[in-house]
Amino acid sequence: MRTVKHVTCPVCGCLCDDLELTIKDEKVVKVKNGCALCKAKFLGYSKHRVLKPLVRKNGRFFEVSYEEAVSRAAEILTEANYPLLYGWSMTSCEAVSAGIELAEEIGGVIDTTSTLCHGPSTLGIQDVGISSATLGQVRHRADLIVYWGSNPLIAHPRHMERYTIFRKGRFQKEKRKLIVVDVRKTETAETADIFLQIKPNMDYEVLQALRALIRDQELDVDEVAGIPTERLEEIADTMVECRFGALFFGSGLTMTRGKNRNIDAVLSLVSDLNKLTKFIAMPMRGHFNVTGADMILTWQTGYPYAVDFSLGYPRYNPGETSAVDILLREESDAALVVASDPVASLPRKAAEHLAENPLIVVDPHMSATARMADVVLPSTFVGIESGGTAYRMDHVPLPLKKIVEPPEGILSDEEILRIILSEVKRKKAEQMENP
């Protein structure tokens, strides 16, 4: 029995780095400091594993060697005209980097799960700009916290305990004030000082009303999205009167009517507030390395997600080069999915076309997407069986640890992608020689 300290958690965008794991016979048997989601992952990850590469023949899976599976994968990718490389948010930055190289080599589109969570936030940030901070600054200085369309007690269970409401800061000893805006009284809303239950699809109106009130303009309506104007005035006053406000927003803004325009409005509100006090905004990023995938794509291609290499150089136009749109228009003719389960998470019409494509899946689990695959390449769990780097939601990079040995012979995402890449290059060179 041994213990490993200061382990980074590979579950959500909080990347808590204070876990203490007890290991017995190369299995995690105890998790200290982790939340329910963290414990579920460390204690449950070894179930439903795929331990041999699989290739589909006549509708059925057959166990094959990595060599054979990689050769089939490389064949699919080199033959394709417009392959889609999707996923990337639950693996290391090093694997993402290899994936981008592969996308460029085969002239494909690489898109991340950002497209389904905070893609609209990125568009909003590109339009308006963002005043932000690290979570450490929020923890030590913020006296007002706002969660808008976000339920951290469920999706980021230790966010409030580590950085906001349930934590004293070096320069913030008194209890902080909490405002929650949502369409339901969520678990997080139960703990709020002020809870605004607004009508669905009306966040944009409420945000713009608050902007008007903050500039001392009068509203000539009695209510906005079901909230009396007087109550909105009270919120506007609370925001203006704080010393350091931090507004965290979730997919309650990005997935509803308005999408990126809601983000324009929320970032403009924060920008307005900065003329009167100190205020920051931050998207509540979901998967543990979705921020890292954005970062690596940005520094290697110039764009954060939905990058199209089909013309030989990177192009970015969400709505055209984003995964869901490509799938709905039935344009892709092959797909590689890494560290994600789009068959379970995309709207069905998009998932249907993905399944119809010759499909390669790199995943440790038998996921719904792996179930549809033509080639399954089993991989290690990043942050448990292999190391790497991940970015926290506030863009702080943290090391992921290798804690236990992977099952015998199982490779990491990065290793698998590098082998596919060299096999693709070899096949292309061969074609050049014998056209």
Partner: protein, 131 residues
């Protein structure tokens, strides 16, 4: 009954997905529809009755559960997952993001219709598994 469909994360969905998507616990945590108690009364259904949730994009059978999240009459909440993804609006409004929250939907009692397992659901929805 006309409602607005909101999909999102729940603790059970987040917990059981780590144990594998084909587990019964994952299915039971995701193939559910949280409803306001008054809406359930209006539909004449009990906690645990199956309902059919439909939009113009498709329909699905889920188990209705009484919401513990305050009053939200006119809104149903369904955890993210393959059961509801056939029903949400795939339209991305040219920004890449489908409409997972805030879709107009219809809920009706369906006590005689079963909730499908993930394997049954995939076989029903995807041609590839039937070749």
């Amino acid at each position: 009954m006309k409602v607005i469909l909101v999909t999102g994360r729940t603790v059970k969905q987040g917990f059981w997905k780590e144990y594998g998507k084909f587990s019964k616990a994952y299915m039971e945590s995701v193939s559910v529809c949280y409803m306001d108690a008054r809406d359930m009364e209006r539909l004449g259904i009990k906690d645990g009755t199956n309902v059919q949730v439909s939009t113009k994009h498709g329909s699905t059978i889920l188990k209705a559960l009484k919401s513990t999240r305050g009053k939200h009459s006119g809104i149903i909440f369904v955890p993210y997952g393959p059961w509801i993804n056939g029903v949400v609006d795939p339209e991305t409004d040219s920004v890449g993001m489908p409409s997972f929250k805030g879709t107009q939907a219809e809920v009706e009692p369906a006590p005689e219709k079963p909730v499908l397992s993930l394997e049954e659901l995939l076989k029903k929805q995807f041609r590839k598994l039937n070749r």
